[in-house]
Structures are given as structure tokens and as C-alpha cells.
């Protein structure tokens, strides 16, 4: 099939940022979306043009690196699918496809479709962990955890840190990302002890990074490739309220 691509280019030849159109032919059903971009890039390189910068690594939906807004949807139109898992059989011959980067003040554009997501790392550094040193652990089976509870914790832990939730949110809030980590750890007995301070610290860092407030629009859940539920934001809110009410341990 043949397609017209409208791709956001920023940096290099396009200092200000603009859409540039490309026609591409010979696209086949079995190609992945990123393989289609590879083919385009090979052509650009052979014409000695600057190839389109986009990020990717695992190409199987787990590393969270790919970050394309396709036709207005973060990771494209398919539910619970990352951009790298999207295949061309989901597009029609002759279609025009627009491709943009995540857009958020907290995710500055590096080049073309590549953004900087260091803010997510700093949020985790603020408290997204259990404070245990190597070698301090007791036997793995010492604390039984109910199967369903472990499974719910897993549902939250499956977040790949891609940032699609931010790209989807009109407020550019990262509360789904923060909620997922707070909820994962709060549901494990090992993580309960620090749950309240963790929530407080992570939310403070979230705000400091310039992400917006959550106003319960839930666009994040709809676009999250891992189907992280907004329930986790609710759990975060409970932890957060608990931490500010019972505030012996307010974070400096």
C-alpha cells in the first residue's frame, strides 16, 4: 500500500519545528509501524537526507522507549498497544498518517519525535522504592501474600514508564504513572511501611517537574498501552491524604 506521512520535524534543518510530508509506497501488511519508518529512513539516508529521529529499543511493547503520537493518539489508535507493536495491517491504502512526539512541558523535545523523559526517573528517585539494602532480606516465603493481592500489585507494576498518559492528558499530568508505582508498592506488605511518605515525596516531585494536576478526565487510562487503571490514582490519593492528615512525618 501507499501512504502519506505527515511527520513532526524539529532540530537540524528544521530549527523551529514543523510538519513535513513524505510519500511512501510498498508498505505491506506484515510490517510493523516502526519497520515502515525504518524503510522511510533508509530511503532518506540513500538520498543523503537527515533521517527522522524516533526512539525505540525492544520493539515488543515492554521497554517503554517508543513514544509516537499517531493520528492524534499516543501509541496509535489500537487499544493496549505500544507504537512498536502496531502493524500496518491496521491502516488503509492511501491513508494520511500524522506522527508527532509526546507534547508536555516536562518532556522537552530532543529531536523530531524524541523527547527527554528524565523527569520520570527523578520521580522514582524521590521515593518509588522500598528501602532495603542487598543482603537484608528474609526468606522469600516468610510473608505469604494473597494471590489476588499480588496480582493486583502486578497490574500496577506493569507500567512501562512510557509517558503516554502524560501525552494523552489535557493537563499533561503524570498521575497515572505516579499512581501505578505508589499503588504497586503499597499493596505489597514489604512496601506498606513507607507508603505514606512515598506518596508525598513522589507527588511533590511530580509537581516540581512541571506536570499538571489531575482533574479526573481519565484520558490517560484510555491511552495507556498497559491498561493501567485510574483506580491506582484513587489509591494514590488515599495514601496521599493519609500522609498529609497523619502528618508526624511530613517530608522536608
Amino acid at each position: 500500500m501507499k501512504l502519506k506521512l505527515k511527520i513532526w520535524r524539529e532540530g537540524g534543518k528544521y530549527p523551529k519545528g514543523q510538519f513535513v510530508s513524505y510519500d511512501i509506497a510498498g508498505v505491506n501488511d506484515h510490517m510493523s509501524f516502526l519497520e515502515m519508518l525504518d524503510v522511510l529512513n533508509e530511503r532518506l539516508i540513500s538520498e543523503k537526507e537527515d533521517p527522522i529521529a524516533f526512539e525505540h529499543d525492544c520493539r515488543e511493547g515492554i521497554c517503554g522507549t517508543c513514544s509516537l503520537v499517531i493520528n492524534g493518539y499516543p501509541h496509535g489508535p489500537m487499544q493496549q498497544t505500544t507504537a512498536c507493536q502496531l502493524h500496518m495491517r491496521n491502516f488503509r491504502d492511501g491513508e494520511t498518517i500524522t506522527i508527532e512526539p509526546w507534547r508536555s512541558r516536562a518532556f522537552p523535545i530532543v529531536k523530531d519525535l524524541v523527547v527527554n523523559r528524565d523527569a520520570f526517573d527523578r520521580i522514582i528517585q524521590a521515593g518509588g522504592y522500598i528501602s532495603v539494602d542487598t543482603g537484608q532480606a528474609q526468606d522469600g516465603n516468610a510473608i505469604p501474600i494473597e494471590k489476588d493481592q499480588a496480582s493486583h500489585a502486578f497490574d500496577a507494576a506493569t507500567c512501562i514508564g512510557c509517558g503516554a498518559c502524560v501525552a494523552a492528558c489535557p493537563n499533561a499530568s503524570a498521575m497515572l504513572f505516579v499512581g501505578a508505582k505508589v499503588s504497586h508498592l503499597a499493596q505489597m506488605p514489604q512496601g506498606k511501611i513507607e507508603a505514606a511518605t512515598r506518596a508525598q515525596r513522589m507527588v511533590a516531585q511530580h509537581d516540581a517537574e512541571g506536570f499538571g494536576r489531575c482533574s479526573n478526565i481519565t484520558a490517560c487510562e484510555a491511552e495507556c498501552p498497559k491498561g493501567i487503571s485510574v483506580e491506582h490514582i484513587a489509591r494514590l490519593n488515599r495514601q496521599y491524604i493519609a500522609s498529609t492528615l497523619g502528618s508526624e512525618k511530613v517530608v522536608e
Partner: protein, 642 residues
Amino acid sequence: MPLVAPNNKRRLEVIIVGTGLAGGAAAATFGELGYKVKVFTFHDSPRRAHSIAAQGGINAAKNYQNDGDSVFRLFYDTIKGGDYRSREANVHRLAEVSVNIIDQAVAQGVPFAREYGGLLSNRSFGGVQVSRTFYARGQTGQQLLLGAYQSLSRQISLGNVELFNRHEMIDLVMEDGKARGIIARNLLTGETERHGAHAVVLGTGGYGNVFYLSTNAMNSNGSAAWRAVKQGAYMANPCFTQIHPTCIPVSGEYQSKLTLMSESLRNDGRVWVPRKMEDAAAIREGRKTGLDIPEADRDYYLERRYPAFGNLVPRDVASRAAKTACDEGLGVSPTGLAVYLDFDAAINRYGKSKAHSQNEHNASEARIRELGVGVIEEKYGNLFEMYEKITGEDPYVMPMKIYPAVHYTMGGLWVDYNLQTNIPGLFAIGEANFSDHGANRLGASALMQGLADGYFVLPYTIGTYLSQEIRNPMVDPDGPAFKEAEAQSQARIDRLMSINGNKSPETFHRELGKIMWEYCGMARNAEGLQKGRRMIRELREEFWRDVYVPGRIKEYNPELEKALRVADFLELGELMMLDALDRNESCGGHFREEYQTEDGEALRRDDEYAYVSAWEWDDVDPILHKEELIFENVELKTRSYK
């Protein structure tokens, strides 16, 4: 073993390259111990290392299932699985610390799968007869890596570890014969930087991408290790590559990578091809599907050839058997390169047992199927989904099509018992070293090894070296050795950029991959290896004459990153051919056609080849050093899974 006192640790700097399971775990632990740590990754975040993609699980000799497991059995299985080409002492230590890893991960909040009673759940992997694999759905690597990443993040926030993300190590700096630091390229700005330390640790992963198509993440590469080799580090057993039997087959020229379907599927899936050539042909031409082939006309060849282990034979054995079936013309995809992995029997079995447990004694066939599909979905849901997304076929209905693909490299930097390379002060951990898996790695053992090295082994063994360094002042990254190494790196980059030829780095990489797969893949022979070596040399020469790298040096430039990596692969590939040529035997993943038994099994030659080949690089003629392998606790036997 000598230790380093806490007050001295603060004065010792350690550079760790890599934030996968091995590097991430090591960086976190070194930070906790009080060393001054700098950690580097070319990824945008430590959380994105290739380890994140590991699906199936992690082994540990916990014997929670009371099925006869023990440290000795895990040790024995690993030595045997590796076809007696690994070092006993290292493997035994690995088996010993395996149990601590699970405890540590649980304490970090890793949500492992659990039974109804709340205790940890296990499953089986290939090549073993006990259930010792711990897992977190099909995302074990992700959860373990996030555990390490979170511990690392804590150390970063405490100021014990400094993180350099989007920084690629492009050279190792040596001073007085010791590793003293690295040259890194800041991938956002393109600037080179000099970093010094008392020791350098490489946890930079495997080099499977030398084959271009593999299950590794796109950016995985061998350059950090190769840069060390160029400074004199030995590369051990480079030709030992693992070809994983269950991957989604190639669909076209544009294919950029291959996707693994976890080995855990072989717990329940049955591998088969049609018995009759005409059926296979009909399937390939789209006139029939797997469903049209009656039971009697299917050949469940693994169950037939290896009744004791059946579908759970080790990876090398399963891969070769698939190749044999396809070579005989029984392949089931349009390219002829695929076999079936079928869940029908398991769906039925689970459905019946579920119906029984729910007191549905007269359940219809449809109801049994429904219940069975539910069980399979719970166990492997995300893998089935992944398969459907990629192929567009529903694996609950149509048997999966699979074919072997490059997956893991057992070879790597040569290290001693302390995980130190032959360069003092340079250490290698995780997939980047060679030490534990011999000629074939067992499933769920890479995560175990990476975390063992990072959390429990290196933090202890590095003391032997660092205790000698406490009198040495901080390393000065402005010294002449650093300046010169930086200038050389810049010259190499300048040279690449100035070629201004006609072919992209990707094109060269793809061509290299084809040569590797053809001549150094699942089956090798002397003639092919010699030819392959010649072809790689020619390709390398062409690369340095005709590559075109777009963009500029001092900017974000992924094509330049790729070019630097491909340049190194073009040398590493040659060494792999040479190593395969030297090893006149078949063992594990290394199958030399000249050395096989009458029924096509690998023929090992212990009297001549029970050694580790440690190669010293030389542009003209690399030099082979042999480390003899001595087995004191395990008797050398012909591996049999029959």
C-alpha cells in the same frame, strides 16, 4: 578474601557501565556499601535496559516444591546443560547464591506469581526435571529490573551513585596496565567526556545483534566489551551463541528484529510438523492449515526423539530438531521455515480439570474448551496477545508457528573467579562475561546470573582488587592517558563521518547478519567458516570505504551511534568465525556438521576440547589462549535427554 573498610570505600571510585540486571544490581549494591559510584547507560533511563524484555522466569534452588531440588542439582543441571564447557567453581557459587536473589527481589516488592496459599509459585523450564523457576506472569525480567532500578534510584537520591544516562562508553582508558576509566559520548550533545575510577565494571550485555536479526533489543551491542578487547582483554568462547527454538518466524526483508515466545510455553505446548510432505506443502501454499491435519498425520518429533524430556529438551537440541524438520521439507510457513507449537491438548486437559474442580461433571466440549482457554490465558495471556498482534493470527484457535532465532551469547569477556578480566581493574558481569553457561545456557538462568553477579558476587570479590588500591589517590581524568584515549576516540569518529560513502550503517549490519547466520549459525562447517571469515573481512574493508553516516558529530545522532557499533561487530564477527573454526567438535549451541553421531546428535570431544578459548585480538591473526576445564564434582558424560 580481602575486604575494604567502610572509611576507605568512600575514597574509592567505581565506574559501572550498564544498568541492566547485572549493572543495575551492582551499582545499587556498591552504592549501599559506600563506594563512590558512577553508572553509565546509553539508554534514556536505567529502566529500559534489554533485561526488561525477559519473559519466562528466574531459577533458584529453593526446593519450595519439595521435588528433589538442591544447590547441587542446580549446579549439576547448569554444567550438564552447558555441555561441560563452563567452569565448575563459578557455577557452583551461582547455584549457592541463587536462593538469596529471590529473597532480595521479594523484599524489594517484586510481585512474583503466587499460589492460593500466598506462597511463591514455580514452573519448569527446558533441560531440567524439577520446578525451580520463579516468575511474574510473562514479565519476569521487567519486574526484576524494576526492582534493581528502584534500589539504584534510591542510591542516586542518596547521592551515593551518580547516573549518566544517554552516555555511551566508546573506549576504555588504561594506565600502567590497569583499567582506569572510560571515554564516554554524551548522546544528546555528541561531546566526548573523560571519567576516571579505581575500577571499571562492564555489565553491558550480550552481542547477539551481530546476527542483525535476533531477539535482543535493537540497541543491544557488543561495543563496550569489544573496546576492552582492543585494549588487550580476552574474549572467551565467542562462537557460543544460543539459538532459541521458539520465536516468531521472519516475515520479510524489512524485518528489523525477532520476537521470542517464552520457553515457558513448552511446558504446555507440543511441537509438531506434518508427517507427510504433501500436507506440509499444502500448508505452505495456503491450501490447508494445521487444523486440517489429523492427529495420526502429525509428527510430535521432540516427544518421539526425546521421550524422557519431550518438549522440554534444552534449547540447542530443540532448535536443531526444528531446523532438521524444515530442512527435510516439512516446514509450515510460506518461507518453509516454521514448525507448530500447539496448545490444543493443554487446553483440553486444563479444561477438564477445571470443570472437575468446579463440580461441572457433564461439561460439554465447548465448555471444557472455554475453561481450558481461561487457564491458558491466565498463564500465558500476554504472550498469546503479543503473538496475535505480530502475526494477525489467533493462537487460541490456530497453532502457533515458531522458528529458532539468535537469542543469547554464552561467550563474552574472559573473567577469573573474581569476575576480573585479564586486565587488572576491569570486571565483567552478566551476559557480558562468559563464565557460567558453557556452550548452552538453560532457560531462566541469565536473570539468575546477572543478579547473582551484581548483588552478591562482585560486591564481595572486587575487594581483592580494591583493597590494593586504597593508597592510590583519585584518578585524574585530565592525565595524559585520558587525553590520548579521548583524542583517539575523536579521531575514530572523525574518520567515520568523513568517509561520506553510499551505504547506511544499517545496510552493512544487515549484510553482516546474513553472513553470520549462514556460516556461523545453527550448523557450521570448516569450509563455510573460512568463507564467512573472508566475506566479513571484505565487508569490513568496504564499510570503512563506503559507509555514509548522516548528521553531525556534536549533536544527537543515532546513525553515528549505530555506525560505531557496526564497526565493532565487523571485527567481533570475524573472531566468532575463527573460534568456531578452532573448535573441532560439537557442543551445546556450537554444532559442527563434521562432528555428529549417527543419529545427528552433537559429538563432543572432551580429550581435545575441554577448554575455554580466550582470544587476544590482533588485526591480522588473533591469538588463542586456552584455559583447561577441570571437572572434579561432575562426571563428563554424553548429554542425553532421551
